[in-house]
């Protein structure tokens, strides 16, 4: 039987606020354990939460970019479960009335565009971190240590509709969403560091069936690459179970990055009745319309708008997408274009040699001393005919490696193209003289031989001849 896969994603993003969600402790990563804590985020008796307005602002900004309706009134709720990384043994989240609802995000997979529904965007607080000694998990550990620095970090949860139809779509959706969040500067969206987390709900149904199959939730997906892998593994498992006439049990499964398989947890340990009820210590979030409008005005150019603009500048669609997906590259292109460079050419260099260099050397473009002005300079030298493409590439690598300015490299190396046509003509005449056989072939009508002769000119000039001029002058020398 043919099955259709149905996937919905819950993405959690740590927000880039100065302070935590409900107290004034610094919201930062990597400090000594239990230094960014206070009575509120350690759940001391008598404390009360106060909502971080900046977190609400960033979540509204995201919701607007996702075409959601920002609800006139939303409510925080308490979600209860006992765990030592949760000081109050409850998490303040949003439940029945989230901050924003009913939006969509457009994704493009293999040239096909699809709108993926966004069910809701809501705010909550993060838990602390546990370190277990003597075992991998708390059950069986000799002891466990808890660090409350992360406790109370603002988290935004974005829940999609079950609109995704393949693991690949799920991966593209997450990357598109993460990229959007980076454009909005609401999170740094680093899955490996946990500032972006993704839980996936997946089910299979016979093709053409309207009813959803039984879903499982896949957790512990810790990188963008793992999304597709985890879902492919779980999709395969579903398919095997179903095609043997078996039934899928609704459960939470953990993805193992090494074996690339998912495993179910013993039901009881994770079976929770969260006993949600409205958080009585907080008043509803009721963002005034004027404030929402002000937030809307702070949204800059979004990735898909930028892509359209790049295409308008004659950058090929695929190239434009690649650039937009990597904001620093796209920013680089804009800066270079502002300095007079042509967008398609800049795009080619960025996607080609520059990206290749960065990948090979495991470096970020921003970390190299190669500002957009340098690329613009290089392209000008090519356009003026001062540098051949081949030599320009050498100059580029030297610039990327040494951080020296393009002009300086070019001046020091004498690598400029030979622009003196008299000199080039002499070389052309030499080439004609020393290759009589080929000259004969050419004159006999074999025009392709010209390529060989130009190559000889390049060899003689160590690549410093302009290919066009070389061809023209060779023809002249051939009479």
């Amino acid at each position: 039987m043919d099955y259709e896969t149905v996937i919905g994603l819950e993405v959690h993003a740590q927000l880039l606020t100065a302070s935590k969600m409900f107290c004034s402790c610094p919201n930062q990563f990597g400090d000594k354990p239990n230094t960014n804590i206070c009575p509120v985020c350690t759940g001391q008796p008598g404390v009360l939460p106060v909502t971080n307005k900046k977190a609400v602002e960033l979540a509204i900004k995201t919701a607007l970019a996702l075409n959601c309706t920002v609800e006139p009134s939303s409510v925080f709720a308490r979600k209860h479960y006992f765990y030592p990384d949760l000081p109050k043994n409850l998490q303040i989240s949003q439940y029945e009335l989230p901050l924003a609802t009913k939006g969509h995000l457009e994704i493009e997979v293999d040239g096909v565009k699809r709108k993926i529904g966004i069910t809701r965007v809501h705010l909550e607080e993060d838990a602390g971190k546990l370190v277990h000694q003597g075992a991998a998990r708390i059950m069986g550990a000799d002891s466990s240590l808890v660090d409350y620095n992360r406790t109370g970090t603002p988290l935004m949860e974005i829940v999609s509709e079950p609109d995704l139809r393949s693991p690949r779509e799920a991966a593209v959706y997450t990357e598109t969403l993460a990229n959007l969040l980076r454009y909005l500067a609401v999170t740094d969206a680093k899955m490996e560091e946990g500032s972006l987390r993704c839980d996936a709900n997946i089910s299979l149904r016979p093709k053409g069936e309207a009813k959803f199959g039984t879903k499982t939730e896949v957790k512990n997906i810790n990188s963008f690459r793992a999304i597709e892998k985890a879902l492919l593994a779980e999709e395969k498992r579903h398919e095997e179970v179903l095609s043997e006439g078996g039934k899928i049990t609704q459960e939470t499964r953990f993805f193992d990055d090494v074996t690339e398989t998912t495993t179910g947890m013993r039901g009881k340990e994770y079976a929770h009745d969260y006993r949600y009820f409205p958080e009585p210590d907080l008043v509803p979030v009721e963002p005034p319309r004027t404030w929402v409008a002000e937030i809307k005005a702070t949204i800059g150019e979004l990735p898909w708008q930028r892509k359209a603009r790049f295409v308008g500048l004659s950058v090929a669609g695929e190239a434009a997408q690649l650039l937009v997906n990597d904001k620093p590259l796209a920013d680089f292109l804009d800066a270079a274009v502002k300095l007079g460079a042509k967008a398609p050419t800049v795009a080619n260099w960025l996607i080609g040699d520059i990206t290749a260099y960065c990948k090979e050397n495991k470096k970020e473009l921003a970390g190299l001393n190669f500002p957009p002005a340098e690329l613009a300079e290089l392209l000008t030298l090519i356009e003026k005919g001062t540098l051949s493409n081949k030599i320009a590439k050498e100059v580029l690598f030297t610039a990327l490696q040494t951080g020296k300015p393009v002009k300086e490299i070019v001046a020091a190396s004498g690598m400029t193209q030979i622009s003196d046509e008299g000199e080039l003509l002499k070389i052309a005449q030499e080439v004609v003289k020393s290759n009589p056989k080929q000259v004969e072939q050419y004159k006999g009508g074999k025009e392709a031989v010209m390529m060989f002769l130009v190559g000889q000119m390049m060899k003689a000039t160590k690549g410093r001849a302009n290919p066009e001029a070389a061809t023209r002058l060779l023809k002249q020398a051939l009479g």
């Binding site: 008796p45 008598g46 000081p87 006993r275 009820f277 009585p280 907080l282």
Partner: protein
């Protein structure tokens, strides 16, 4: 000295007739003479108090902005966090808990120059109506030591009645200030929900808890309210409503004030002597020019049931944090995380707290939430609406604070429902978030009777004015317990 009110003592302090150190010492002498009989205090803070008294004396001498509370010795209920001073909630769970911070109200009282004598006994985590649910010892009623002082702020009411504190703080979730005030013959005010910051008050039921004063007379209540009222950035439910000078509301005038007697609280469940005293008080107010009408609040009969769903539900959530991980009691008997949780909570909480945690957990559970918690919220709305309608007809409402006078220790401890019913007149007020005050209006076989005055939201000034007028024209506040 210990018998005087804060406003009387203030005169003596500013006129240098006495010093705060002398006054504080006198209060500790009084405590030494009475508290082994009353057992109102769980912690005394003599060293800090004398330092605070010294600082107050300097402030009074240099004229550096003394307030009416500067140098006045007060007691704090033991569910207010006090930095570095044990805050136990009269629970084994927090027997040795030292908060790292002061509650906002404690900060405000300290800044006003009040001297903190110590922390007072209460029903464990404020759950109870008799102070018998303290994990340490019961507090006795100064008027009759065989009787309870009421609860949960029983210790605070008892020490004010015993004159072993000039005034005290209390917290009121379903009557925990007003009921002990009535039983102990003192004045107790539960302000409008949101009038006073709850930051640092160990939470019982967050949507119902409110802090207020317990004092010897109405003027002192106004003085303490002046200090503690107001918005707090740390409490999102505290309301940005202007704080008037409550003392200037104290006028001996009730002419044309329409007071509604609540019919449902003058029925069969109310002790005849209590009923008679409240009717007598109404007659007195009428004689002073107030208009007395009778009003009905039909949804009252559901108030107790509603309260015992909402309050335990919130409590079960608020008390989840006591797990032995971070602070408070941790059981020595544990093999793993789960057994640590179980044994810590089994050993740390008393029977009534456990009962309410179970009730609340049940009411919030999947499949029961709609039938219990959600329904309770709807009835709560009806109760509010009843009050709104009543306030269309009158300015204030009046009722007995309690159906009976103070009962004997042990009389109701075996029957939780009978105990719950002793809060029938006070609970609806918390559900509606309204301000209400209890003041002495009679005496039955040597035990005080309380009159409850209920106002619309933020009508504390009117409540205080009517209470003050009644007090000025009667002598109940001048009688005190003999120990």
């Amino acid at each position: 000295m210990h018998t005087k009110t804060a406003h009387e003592l203030h005169e003596l302090l500013v006129n240098k007739k006495i010093s705060s150190v002398e006054l504080t010492t006198a209060l500790y002498d009084r405590i030494a003479g009475t508290d082994d009989k009353i057992k109102g205090y769980v912690t005394l803070t003599r060293d800090e108090a004398l330092k605070q008294a010294q600082a107050a004396d300097e402030r009074l001498t240099t004229g550096a902005n003394p307030t009416p509370l500067t140098g006045i010795p007060i007691a704090i209920k033991d569910n207010f966090c006090t930095r570095g001073i044990k805050t136990t909630c009269s629970s084994k769970m927090l027997e040795n808990y030292l908060p790292p911070y002061d509650a906002t109200v404690v900060t405000k009282l300290k800044e006003a120059g009040a001297v903190i004598l110590g922390k007072t006994n209460m029903d464990e985590f404020a759950m109870g109506s008799s102070c018998e649910n303290s994990a340490f010892f019961p507090t006795r009623n100064p008027w009759n030591r065989e009787c309870v002082p009421g609860g949960s702020s029983g210790g605070s009411a008892a020490v004010v009645a015993a004159r072993s504190a000039v005034m005290a703080t209390g917290s009121d979730t379903g009557g925990s200030i007003r009921q002990p005030a009535a039983f102990c013959g003192v004045v107790g005010l539960k302000p409008t929900y949101g009038r006073v910051s709850r930051y640092g008050l160990v939470a019982f039921a967050s949507s119902l808890d409110q802090i207020g004063p317990l004092t010897k007379d109405v003027t002192d209540t106004a003085l303490m309210l002046n200090v503690i009222a107001g918005h707090d950035d740390r409490d999102a439910t505290s309301i940005e409503h202007p704080v008037p000078d409550y003392r200037s509301a104290l006028k001996n005038d009730v002419k044309k004030v329409r007071v509604g007697l609540i019919r449902e609280l003058l029925g069969s469940g109310i002790e005849p002597t209590v009923k008679a005293a409240v009717k007598g008080a109404a007659d007195q107010l009428a004689a002073l020019g107030a208009e007395i009408v009778e009003v009905s609040l039909p949804s009252f009969e559901h108030a107790i049931a509603t309260y015992y769903l909402i309050a335990p539900a919130e409590a079960s959530s608020n008390l989840a944090r006591y797990d032995g991980v971070k602070f408070g009691h941790r059981s020595q008997e544990h093999r793993d995380l789960i057994s640590m949780y179980y044994n810590t909570r089994r050993e740390g909480f008393g029977a009534e707290v456990k009962r309410r945690i179970m009730l609340g957990t049940y009411a919030l559970s999947a499949g029961y939430y709609d039938a219990f918690y959600l329904k309770a919220l709807k009835v709560r709305t009806l109760i509010k609406r009843d009050f709104d309608q009543a306030f269309e007809r009158c300015d204030l409402l009046a009722s007995p604070t309690t159906p009976t006078v103070a009962f004997k220790l042990g009389a109701k401890s075996a029957d939780p429902v009978a105990m719950y019913l002793s809060d029938i007149a006070t609970i609806p007020v918390n559900l509606a978030g309204l301000p209400a005050l209890s003041l002495p209006c009679g005496n039955s076989s040597g035990l005080p009777i309380g009159l409850q005055l209920i106002g619309p939201a933020f009508a504390e000034e009117l409540i205080l004015r009517v209470a003050y007028t009644y007090e000025q024209n009667t002598a109940w506040h001048q009688t005190s317990a003999v120990i």
